[in-house]
């Protein structure tokens, strides 16, 4: 009985631990292995070396995808954080109907990326949406055709992504702002700090952990972004707005290149780990220090 009592937590945790060990970590290792094989239509297990990685990096389409990933990730994070902070600070001014406004800004998060992508596809389509609307109003020289212009379509994905996610980042920052001790703010005000210097010099620097968690959330959203791209541009026009996740699905299920697809998946995995692992390490270390 005593034994049971002592080990109950472990017994309860064991099944989910086992499931995660197999279905997450097990399959990560499986994918790593498959990326070293010649797998085409179905997975094969004969070792083939690094050839899939050579092939991957010699494909122009993969380079387009990686370049787009960098454009998207950087702009997406900067804009989301910037808009999120500004909205959070504005909402923090003890305004009326705050709950109502907060819900409005947070609402896009309740939509799936597919819905966001489809709605924005209609709005940005030059023959249906904004451009036609403005021209019908009489601004006949108005053009906004990024969606159908190669090289610009990636920015439409940024617009839709930012619209979707900045409200969520606002909520995170608002929670952060609320957790700051009132005494500090009062003290700063007594010392004569204006509103701007109060935020830039005191409050925002105190919110470093909030920045970190917001950025980690945004990074992984950006790297695995698939549904938004599919719904908005489907990688087009041509292949100009291709992203690694789209590339991977295409290779695995459309082109019978499972080995190549695994190699691209591993490249994405490494990118995420390169950002998340140092973060986790520093966070966990800080917790250890506190003990």
């Amino acid at each position: 009985m005593f034994w049971l009592k002592r080990n109950l937590p472990r017994i309860v945790i064991a099944p989910s631990f086992g499931v995660i060990a197999w279905f997450v970590y097990g399959f990560i290792f499986w994918t790593i292995y498959v990326s070293f094989t010649k797998s085409k239509l179905l997975p094969q297990y004969q070792f083939w070396g690094l050839d899939q990685y050579y092939r991957l990096w010699s494909m122009p389409r993969w380079h387009i995808a990686v370049e787009n990933l960098f454009i998207f990730t950087i702009l997406f994070i900067i804009l989301c954080v910037l808009i999120g902070i500004i909205l959070a600070i504005l909402l923090d001014q003890k305004i009326r109907a705050e709950g109502f406004l907060r819900t409005i800004y947070l609402y896009p998060m309740a939509l799936s990326f597919i819905v966001t992508g489809t709605a924005w596809r209609w709005m940005l389509n030059p023959t249906l949406g904004l451009e036609k609307f403005a021209q019908d109003l009489g601004f006949s020289s108005f053009t906004f055709d990024w969606l159908v212009t190669p090289g610009m379509s990636i920015y439409t994905i940024v617009i839709a992504g930012v619209w979707q996610s900045s409200g969520f980042i606002m909520a995170i920052f608002l929670a952060g702002l609320r957790s700051i001790d009132d005494e500090i703010i009062k003290a700063a005000k007594i010392d004569g700090a204006g509103l701007i210097s109060l935020y830039t010099k005191i409050i925002l620097p105190m919110m470093r952990p909030v920045f970190m968690s917001a950025i980690v959330i945004l990074v992984h959203l950006a790297i695995k972004s698939y549904d938004l791209v599919i719904a908005l541009t489907a990688g087009g026009p041509g292949i100009s707005s291709d992203m690694p996740a789209v590339f991977m699905t295409q290779m695995a299920f459309h082109r019978s290149e499972i080995g190549l697809a695994s190699a691209s998946a591993i490249m994405m995995f490494l990118t995420v780990s390169a950002i998340v692992v140092p973060y986790l390490y520093s966070e966990l270390k800080r917790e250890d220090d506190r003990k």
């Binding site: 085409k40 239509l41 023959t127 159908v148 090289g151 541009t233 459309h254």
Partner: protein, 416 residues
């Protein structure tokens, strides 16, 4: 659950000869005419006492279905039949998941070799062409022009017999403010137009060398430059809303008279029929200019290795029904294609289908009967994808024809 259904079927229908046969069929024909067409098969199967387990996986033109299928095969639980076509059939055979070719006995007994043209039959055979492992249900033609009759007639335009004639007609329409070419610039649609142009400008032998044999010299040669030149012209005949548009939206533009022509396979006919329009009355179905060329896409079902007598019987019944005269007729009237089986009377088909059937025979005699690469009837999927990438990149940018050709041969080399 499957077992319960099978037992149920056995108990309910003990007098039928095929009692106890069951089949799980994976497909992505879930919309409109396609679903109706498939229901014919389901009903036939049930009438013969079989237990049909439907496994429709909609979405993404088969992408979702491919994911499901691969997961099932890796888990050693392949469905009885799946909607697979072209060289992918033989690729699955090489993976060892198709043998021992359960339907070959049916095919031999029914004499499929006589019922199918050599070309179609060759796509259905595994084991180096020794055994049947798939059943064809239709033949789609790809190289069609669909045109609005009123628009053409009122502008004094006839269906073009050469690409120069088409360019002249398109210039005329453009001057009148009509979009000459309704097109949805998605990669597969760009490739569809590209292969029709390649067949016309390059000719039959060129097409075979480039897209069946993937010959590097042909892919990188001067003829290919001319083909990309024509693609650039076609791009200028489309409207700015074209990128990403679905094919049926483009078809609607032709119906409404907003656009003159569309280049698309004969599934487009279903859209015209659904709108109550008739060929030669409201619209023209003509072929894109070529020297008796005919690009075909044969939809088929592959039959995997399965365990259990009831499943093997189910596969045999299914294969036999799919090749049945009745099914081939009804199915293809719904689907807009023509029967794969040669001896189906064409009386009940419309004039476009009759033309398709006649052209098929002519093309076969003159060496113009060729597999569509854009629809996965030839080339490995990786090579096909590489060509498609270059075609769509060229079509949607200001890349020069020469650059496109250089990229094309490099991409094909890298992929194969």
């Amino acid at each position: 659950m499957k077992k319960i259904i099978a037992i149920f079927a056995m108990v309910l229908a003990p007098t039928f000869s095929y009692a106890g046969s069951s089949a799980e069929v994976l497909h992505w024909w879930t919309s409109g005419g396609e679903a109706k067409a498939l229901k014919v098969l389901k009903d036939d199967f049930a009438a013969k006492g079989g237990a049909w387990t439907d496994m429709p996986v909609a979405g993404g033109g088969g992408d979702a279905a491919m994911q499901t299928l691969k997961a099932r095969i890796v888990a050693n639980d392949a469905p009885a039949a799946a909607q697979i076509k072209g060289p992918t059939i033989q690729a699955y055979d090489r993976e060892g998941v198709v043998a021992p070719y359960n339907i070959d006995a049916v095919a031999k007994a029914e004499g499929w070799d006589k019922l199918l043209s050599k070309q179609v039959a060759s796509h259905m055979k595994c084991d180096d062409g020794k055994a049947y492992c798939a059943a064809p249900v239709n033949i789609h033609r790809i190289d069609w022009f669909w045109a609005n009759k009123k628009v053409l007639d009122s502008n004094g335009i006839k269906m073009p017999k050469s690409w120069d004639e088409f360019n002249a007609a398109a210039d005329k329409l453009q001057a009148k403010g009509i979009i000459p070419l309704a097109h949805g610039s998605q990669p597969w649609q760009d490739a569809t137009v590209f292969e029709a142009v390649a067949l016309g400008i390059g000719g039959n032998d060129f097409y075979r060398k480039a897209f069946v044999e993937a010959d590097a010299a042909t892919l990188g040669g001067p003829v290919m430059v001319k083909i990309f030149d024509q693609m650039r012209k076609l791009k200028n005949y489309t409207d700015p809303g074209s990128p990403g548009r679905d094919w049926n939206v483009a078809t609607a533009m032709v119906m409404e008279g907003k656009a003159g022509f569309q280049i698309m396979g004969d599934w487009a006919k279903g859209e015209f029929a659904a709108a109550g329009l008739n060929p030669d009355v409201d619209y023209y179905c003509g072929t894109t200019p070529s020297d008796n060329g005919y690009l075909y896409n044969v939809d088929s079902f592959i039959f995997f290795k399965v365990e259990g007598q009831d499943k093997v019987e189910g596969q045999k019944l299914l294969a036999s029904l799919m090749m049945g005269q009745d099914f081939q007729k009804v199915f293809n009237i719904y689907k807009g294609s023509i029967p794969a089986r040669l001896d189906v009377p064409m009386d009940d088909f419309d004039i476009c289908a009759k033309k398709s059937n006649k052209d098929l025979n002519t093309a076969a005699k003159k060496g113009g009967l060729l597999p569509s690469f854009a629809h996965g009837m030839t080339l490995e999927l990786g090579v096909k994808g590489a060509i498609q990438d270059v075609v769509t990149e060229h079509f949607n940018s200001d890349m020069s024809s020469q650059d496109a050709v250089t990229k094309l041969s490099a991409a094909v080399m890298a992929a194969s």
